[in-house]
Amino acid sequence: MHIPDGYLSPQTYVPFYAFIIPYLGIAARKVSKFIKSRYVPLLALGAAFSFVIMMFNVPIPGGTTGHAVGAVIVAIILGPWAASIAVSIALIVQALLFGDGGITAIGANCFNMGVVIPFVGYYIYKLISGSSEITSPRRWVAGAIGGYVGINVAAVIAGIEFGIQPLIAKAPDGHPLYSPYPLSVAVPAMALEHLMVFGIVEALVTALIIIYLQKSDKTLLTIYGGAR
């Protein structure tokens, strides 16, 4: 889901930059209010975790690869705003240092993976886990579904970003200037591979860490939102 340079037209990537810069400013303010200094190391661990889990490329035999983002588990532990900060730091370093994701696409990539995944995932987790005990299986089921849906919504949105390019930027000869695939190709391609494979990977990552924390340190599951 790391959109490279050259796939998005300026008409697309400039508005995403215009959104993400003030958004991250707001997120930073929200986070500083409750994270306090003692949770900063945990935020650093979350950012590093998101970065390294994205390196685990899972193959579709003979096809493409994809990976989990780890955004939903960070959102469940530290909240969606903090997850936005953690995942965005990981994405910016990936773009600048490793060329994974374009520098023009940083705004769009931070929106897809750093805003959509944690917010969708977290609120689904919250909705499903409800007022259940912190050690309840309902919690990890909720996390798995949150992870699965979160990454799939982001995949569809990324598919739309790819797919609108031939509509908005054409060369004089009629060829698309940027990403050449239409909506009818990009959206199903992004959706299907995430529905069938990569969504399950994000679900597993989220659920396994919740199960581990339920057994080893359940206080970590009560930091954000003060779950009972």
Binding site: G6, L45, V52, P59, H67, I89, A95, D217
Partner: protein, 114 residues
């Protein structure tokens, strides 16, 4: 957080283990002949797939020269899976180090502002 510190230590250890295991992320795709992620093809690949390289893409694609492209080193593309794996582990460690440092710095700045 009663046992918070021991959990942090375990998590740190978990990250080290993940860094050491990260070559799975290059070896598995190689074994199963899987290529790039959807929409992450280079201009050459796009050219082969659709018959031409979009003009705007040609201009923007090489805008940025990353110091460690694709979690490897320049000129290591032909070095084989073993060296790719080594480069991958180094990338994981370097990336996590820089990301943690930036996050900790961010935390310091935010706390000073309060």
């Amino acid at each position: 957080m009663s046992n918070g510190n021991s959990t942090m230590k375990k998590m740190l250890l978990g990250l080290v283990v993940l860094a050491l295991l990260s070559p799975v992320g290059v070896i598995l795709p190689d074994m199963f002949k899987a290529g790039s992620a959807w929409g992450e093809w280079g201009p050459d690949e796009i050219g082969k797939m659709v018959g031409y390289v979009p003009q705007g893409m040609k201009k923007l694609a090489d805008l940025w020269q990353a110091p460690m492209p694709d979690y490897s080193f320049k000129g290591w593309e032909e070095k084989g899976l073993c060296m790719q794996s080594l480069a991958y582990v180094i990338s994981a460690v370097v990336g996590m180090g820089i990301i943690s440092a930036i996050t900790l710095l961010f935390g310091k700045i935010m706390n000073k502002k309060e």
